[in-house]
Amino acid sequence: MIFDLELKNAGKVYDNGTPAVIDFDLSVAKGEFIAFLGPSGCGKTTTLRMIAGFESISSGDMLIRGERMNDVPPQRRPTSMIFQNYALFPHMTVRRNVGYGLEVKGLPRAERDAKVDHILATLDLEDIADRKPDRLSGGQRQRIALARGLAVEPDILLLDEPLGALDANLRKAIQNELKLLQKRLGVTFIFVTHAQSEALALSDRIVVMNQGRVEQVSPPHQLYTRPNTPFVAQFIGRNTVLQGEVAGTQGEDIVVSTGVGVLSGRANGRTADKGRVNLVVPAEAIEVHAAATRERLTRGGTTNLVDAHIESFDVVGHISHLTARLLDGRTVSLEAHVDKYQPGAFPVGSGVLLSWKAAEATVIPAH
């Protein structure tokens, strides 16, 4: 199979010796929507710029559709980049901006016009086609940048935080448009963001990066349910991470002895099954019970019971917000529909029991 993009142990070391990207491995199939997610300075933008050709690759290889691209200059790569600030050409009209790539390719006038008209229509830009971009709104400029990038029909469209400069409402709307557009065109999108919600909403797979390394490559829901590393567990969603030591196995479950009791979770494939581990419990997996129900729960076969005290319990509209403090001092916050935890169910300071199904917690290596 020929991938649209392959990165093989790709690395980047800056001139001053600082490593920016370390051993980046990734294969992207045609039409995939990939997000690079991570905190600022994690190397996600640098990797994107390496794919575009703006940054050289210090080690490893980069291939697009099977062709090695390491030393190909940006203008000869079948990629096109959308910048966070859009980087539109302020001295050209919207139409000329969008058509500039085709103009330079030497496409005949008529063919070029047809293509530009089509892409302007696709992105709803016909009305402003003859204006200069600097006085247009953020959303419009964003679409112009997209139209310009797509007009040259790249194999891969690279997007560097393209929604970062928009306000929240607009971001939501354009996010949906972007997803639909990508599915319709079938072009491979690689998208850099530090906003989890964007990555989760848009992408087929997410590459979580930290300090220049890839932490995990997974479909969005797996980042939640099966984090691979402590970093992902902390970075994605709202997980409680309990340190402990493997005490044994019980069927598919791994039993871990932690500071708040002997608890169990499921291995995630690459987990070490002995020594020091982390037990990752998503907030969504946790059930809260009154302390008095302990016996009934144990009799009923509920495992993973952890003692806690209610620290706060508020109902806002139809959502109950609940914070409980474990015996080791850490707090767990979670939310649920008001029908589940009704007002007054858990007085502040009262003892409760937290529980979860072993299959919903994940055991990962300690480091």
Binding site: P73, Q75, F89, H91, L158
Partner: protein, 281 residues
């Protein structure tokens, strides 16, 4: 001191500043309208007249005062200024472009370039004369003096362009490359139009600095004089108000140059505004 007092003080200071700035020019302007040929370059004005302006253009009856020997000098100075402007601006733009990326020795090269505007003109002029003698090179305004003018004005153009590139958003260029446009074409079609206002400023600097350069030219220009040298030459005999009349005319010429510059600058701004108005309508 209260706020009104401070305001008054600052106002007075500003007024004095302007008097000192434009006083000489005003005196020069007034004296250029002295009557001729008997009136001299001093107050009081015996009678208002445009005699010395007519004298400049040879429109007065012959008198004991010779016409200013500036015709050829003016042509030389303008030619030299244009040559200097073109070469310094090209050098300034390309050098500043090179400095957008750090390169080995960039610090040293930077100071070597800037040194050109720091070293005393008289010394450089004298040095050039000595070097030219040593190598048997003839000194000319279009040769040795031209080189010194470029050495002097290039750093100004360079610094102007450096400031422009400092605020320039390089992602616009990257966007162009990423559309398949070669770096050379990107520079011509994307970068250059965007830095053009800066290029105009660099040109203006180079032109005006070269046009009235004196100390470097004094030793390096050889036999044929440039305008500042020619005017200085007339002082050594006797000063007549015709020099003032000429001064007024060159000042007007400078204003015209500045005006052209302002119009060119305003044009891009107005174009942007027109687009905005159409949008609101």
């Amino acid at each position: 001191m209260n706020a009104t007092g401070i305001k008054f003080g600052l106002g007075l200071y500003t007024a004095l500043f302007i008097v000192f700035l434009y006083g000489p020019l005003v005196v020069l302007g007034i004296l250029s309208f002295q009557t001729g040929p008997e009136g001299g370059p001093q107050f009081p004005i015996i009678e208002w007249s445009t005699y010395w302006y007519r004298h400049l253009f040879g429109l007065t009856p012959p008198s004991r005062i010779a016409p200013l020997p500036i015709e050829q000098a003016l042509v030389r100075s303008l030619t030299l200024a244009v040559m200097t402007m073109v070469v310094s601006t090209v050098l300034g733009v390309t050098a500043a472009q090179a400095f957008r990326r750090k390169f080995r020795g960039s610090g040293v090269v930077f100071y070597l370039i800037v040194l050109g505007m720091m070293v005393p003109g008289v010394l450089v002029g004298l040095g050039m004369a000595l070097v030219a003698n040593a190598f048997g090179i003839d000194r000319h305004w279009w040769g040795t003096a031209f080189v010194l003018h470029v050495v002097y004005t290039f750093p100004f153009a360079f610094l102007v362009m450096l400031a422009i590139f400092n605020r320039f958003d390089p992602s616009v260029e990257e966007a162009s490359w990423s559309l398949g446009v070669s770096p050379a074409r990107t520079f011509r079609k994307i970068t250059f139009p965007l830095i053009f206002p800066g290029v105009l400023s660099a040109m203006l600097f180079a032109f005006t600095l070269s046009y009235d350069e004196f100390s470097r030219t004094l030793f390096a220009s050889g036999r044929d004089l440039t305008l500042p040298l020619a005017i200085y030459g007339t002082f050594s005999v006797e000063v007549h108000p015709n020099v003032f009349a000429f001064g007024v005319l060159t000042t007007l010429f400078s204003f015209a140059l500045l005006g052209t510059y302002a119009i060119l600058m305003a044009m891009s701004v107005r174009r942007a505004r027109r687009v905005a108005i159409q949008e609101e309508a």
